[in-house]
Amino acid sequence: MGEFGKLDLQKEVNPFFIYKRLLLNSPTVYFLYQIDYGFWYVMRKIHIRYPEIDVTGAVFGPRLSVELYQRGGNQWPQNVPIPVDLFCTPGMSGVTIDGAARMTAVPVKNAKLQNIIYPFRDNFELYVSGQNLVTPTDIDIMIIGFMVPVESQYQWEGSFNNG
């Protein structure tokens, strides 16, 4: 395992859900979350929703896509950005947005299992593209995953140029 540390499954593995709402104000927007010290993060599923209809009934008809990037391993686990509703839930089906930017409570169904592991201090990175900078304005992203503790706190031993 080297400088990323050995997993310690005897310690408590705890679920950790990560949520952010992104404002779609540039051609590509970034969902970034730095994994805590001392833990690996096993990402299991992604729940994403965004509106297709506004409160006036105007249909946006957007086709947003997402890309995952594993910075620790420098890997792009897809060839091109993938439309949200092909591997996430609930997507945009039936989602409207009101004047206070609240979205319809559509049900979550089944999302594709991801099972991607991020070592500690890695960034969870997800890029959203495909909007026309007018609509939609917001996207909700939630990650279902688990924090897995590592045996040693390598970051305190100088192996990351901090000692």
Binding site: N14, T104, V106
Partner: protein, 184 residues
């Protein structure tokens, strides 16, 4: 006696042995959140043993003064009461992590959904602790929710000792509880 309901042998004696000390259980948390307020929902794990949560399901209402609008007004952050460990990074809108999710309220609105796929949430809540949910309601009307935690109750040593001392067949229970691997 050996029962073979499917292709698997089931030994009732061993099954009952296990069920005495760990069994499926569900804990329900339900609450009503006033308009525009936050509130901490609690459910006690109780002192009979630890609770290993495996799945979460839940429903909630989407009421506003204008009626049942169907919008997502409730959001919450789950917390392990022992040590105050936050299990979400922020309050998350209920419809993103609860199935079946929104349900029709007494004010009407469109129909809700049926249970689809319980959300995976494997975590050990210790005996005597609390499962806490910090909930915010952004609506101008009160909203309700019910969340069910599905898991396994793992009876604590203290309860096991009490059961043994209260049992008419203490020797057998004691042997099965503490030397499970030595039985044929």
């Amino acid at each position: 006696m050996i029962v073979k309901p499917f292709s698997q042998k089931i030994d009732p004696e061993k099954v009952f042995e296990i069920q005495n000390f760990q069994y499926q259980e569900r804990l329900l948390m339900s609450d009503t959140i006033g308009a525009g307020t936050t509130r901490l929902g609690r459910v006690a794990v109780s002192n009979i043993g630890h609770f290993f949560c495996q799945k979460i399901t839940g429903t909630f209402t989407s009421l506003a003064i204008a009626g049942d609008t169907g919008f997502d007004y409730l959001s919450g952050q789950l917390v392990d009461g022992a040590g105050n460990r936050k299990l979400y990074n922020d309050r998350i809108p209920f419809s993103l992590w609860l199935t079946p999710g929104r349900r029709r309220s007494t004010a009407g609105g469109t129909a809700g959904n049926s249970l689809f796929l319980p959300i995976e949430f494997e975590y050990l809540f210790t005996a005597n602790s609390e499962i806490q949910l910090d909930v915010a309601n952004t609506s101008d009307a009160a909203n309700q929710y019910e969340i069910c935690f599905h898991g396994i109750r793992i009876i604590s040593d203290m309860v096991v000792r009490n059961r043994i001392s209260n049992s008419g067949n203490g020797a057998q229970v004691r042997r099965s509880a503490y030397q499970p691997n030595r039985r044929g």
